[in-house]
């Protein structure tokens, strides 16, 4: 039952990442130590180890894979058919919270979309393996008049620079941020950084935070005639209900949105059901899993591209190494791609 072969890739991945992400690692190490310490005060301190419940798999997942229908229509039914003995308990939260659950051992496996955070946790050993299994693109949406001139920008960073300039010039609400540590929010923050825009207290007039989900944020942006960054699935499903907003920029390289399945270090958290977690990860990157993801369409539009289409990719630490990585062999190319 235990899906062993995945473990082959873990050691390699761990080392490669550790070298590349030193700074992130240092921060994550401090965090990790705090979490470890806190964990030690839990049930283990009482001398009682939680009884592992092998039948149950707690999946901490980002909401967009549920909201797009991918989990309920593709992943969960296929997984249940293959492993009827495992009860998957998907807990849909923001990527930030999902990774917290992974770090503290309160989940068995995570599905998230924030590569820098995931790589940092790999480097500290909190995660043992990260397997990208699907991707799509974030989209910059905004008022159809496009007052900041975002349309046709060569990159999202350039577009963000224009939005900031427009906001600072006019003092109007120009951008609505999720502000909730979700994967989309993390992506947005990294885009401000690569745009060279430092958000200060003075920017509170044009840059507002909704603190809510994607749909609520889109609605606020529509009401305020402002720009925002959205994931593709939420946009395709609800774009018509937030009418004044239009899609302005997508499919630039820096808008790529990579979903991965992350395995949690059982050595740190003995109660983690790694065996079942490996089965889920294995299925997601298997040929049948990758094909099912590629074939999933909503109203004729594919919401996710299988990741097998995209190896090697830019977010792995070293391109040359990733081409020769064991992951390539673990993810046979999906034969059908849209």
């Amino acid at each position: 039952m235990r899906c062993r072969f995945l473990l082959l890739g873990s050691r390699w991945r761990l080392r490669a990442t550790a070298g590349a992400l030193f700074t992130g690692a240092a921060v994550a190490l401090a965090l990790g130590a705090a979490v470890l310490f806190a964990g030690g005060c839990g049930s283990n301190a009482a001398g009682q180890r939680p009884v592992p419940n092998e039948k149950q798999l707690i999946l901490a997942s980002t909401t967009s894979v549920r909201d797009s229908g991918l989990m309920d229509n593709v992943v969960l039914p296929a997984f249940k058919a293959r492993y009827p003995g495992i009860t998957v308990k998907p807990i849909y939260v923001g990527t930030g919270q999902a990774l917290e659950m992974a770090k503290s051992g309160n989940a068995d496996v995570a599905i998230v979309h924030s590569p820098p955070d995931e790589l940092a946790l790999l480097a500290t050993g909190q995660l043992t393996l990260r397997l990208p299994f699907a991707y799509n693109y974030f989209t910059i949406v905004g008022p159809s008049g496009d007052p900041a001139g975002v349309r046709g920008s060569p990159s999202a960073a350039v577009a963000f620079k224009k939005i900031a300039a427009y906001g600072r010039r006019t003092g109007k609400v120009a951008f609505v941020s999720r502000g909730d540590q979700s994967g989309t929010n993390k992506k947005e923050l990294s885009l401000w950084t690569s745009a060279g825009v430092t958000l200060t207290a003075d920017d509170d007039r044009w840059y507002i935070k909704s603190g809510q989900g994607m749909l609520e944020t889109l609605q606020i942006a529509a009401q305020k005639n402002a720009y925002t960054l959205t994931d593709m699935a939420t946009w395709l499903k609800n774009g018509s209900s937030v009418a004044p907003l239009t899609k302005l920029l997508m499919t630039t390289q820096d808008l790529k949105n990579i979903y991965s399945v992350d395995l949690i270090n059982q050595a740190l958290h003995p109660s983690v059901n790694s065996a079942a977690a490996e089965c889920l990860a294995e299925w997601l990157v298997s040929e049948s899993g990758q094909r099912a993801i590629a074939d999933y369409k909503v109203n004729g539009v594919a919401l996710f591209q299988p990741f097998a289409d995209d190896i090697p990719h830019t977010l792995l630490p070293a391109r040359s190494e990733s081409a020769a990585s064991p992951v390539s062999s673990a993810t046979p190319a999906a034969s059908s791609s849209p």
Partner: protein, 233 residues
């Protein structure tokens, strides 16, 4: 307006067609609320009665605690219960996080102060003379308690309704400790939240209508009992 009509229509369609998933969610809501209410009543009514009938140092402080608990935000209760039940928490070994049992525990903690507080208020309202009379007729402490409960049944049923209303409509705590897992721990309120965040407003509204119908019919039944009691007295 269109959305509202659509939602109401969808609600009745789901109900009439007997949509299995919807019934499943509604039934689970009722199950969790009923179980939590039953436990809260069994524990809370005697405690409320004891608090009403006894005098001891620190009693006033306890009453303040209970009254504060009546207004405790469910999310706070949910977070605390979740922290305890998480695998890394002190009760992680029980392995009940993200189960119906965990949801019942959280809701008992929400309902309990309401039951204690309203029982206390109901019993204290009774005429002091009545109590003395019952005691004078030779009743024991336990007998006295039963007789006073019967006497206070109208406001006590109000306590039951208030506690039931609090738990059936509660969303924050059950979301945190239950996880809103489809087919396992999803209840009406968490399903409404999910549908709303996914933009399925009609579906969310349909569940709202079902939740309101459920709340109305249970309250209607309890009110009938309460008012019948009223006439008989």
């Amino acid at each position: 307006m269109h959305l509202i009509l659509q939602g109401v229509r969808q609600a009745f369609e789901l109900l009439i067609k007997g949509d299995a998933a919807t019934y499943d969610i509604a039934l689970r809501s009722l199950e969790v609320a009923a179980a939590a209410l039953a436990i809260a009543l069994v524990v809370g009514v005697p405690l409320g009665g004891a608090l009403a009938l006894s005098r001891f140092p620190g009693r006033r402080f306890l009453v303040v605690l209970v009254n504060t608990g009546m207004g405790a935000p469910p999310v706070a209760v949910g977070l605390i219960v979740a922290l305890f039940l998480w695998r890394t928490g002190p009760l992680g070994g029980l392995n009940i996080i993200y189960t119906v049992r965990a949801m019942i525990i959280a809701q008992v903690l929400i309902a309990l102060p309401i039951v204690i507080g309203l029982t206390l208020a109901a019993m204290q309202q009774l005429d002091e003379g009545l109590r003395l009379q019952i005691l004078a007729l030779g009743a024991g402490r336990w007998r006295l308690f039963i007789l006073l409960l019967r006497e206070a049944r109208v406001p006590l049923l109000a306590a039951v309704m208030a506690a039931f209303g609090a738990v059936i409509s509660e969303v924050g705590a059950v979301m945190m400790v239950g996880g809103n897992i489809e087919g396992q721990t999803q209840v009406l309120t968490t399903a409404i939240m999910q549908d709303t965040s996914m933009g399925d407003f009609a579906a969310a509204l349909a569940l709202v209508v079902i939740l309101l119908l459920l709340a109305f019919s249970t309250n209607y039944a309890m009110t009938l009992i309460q008012q019948r009691g009223q006439k008989a007295t």
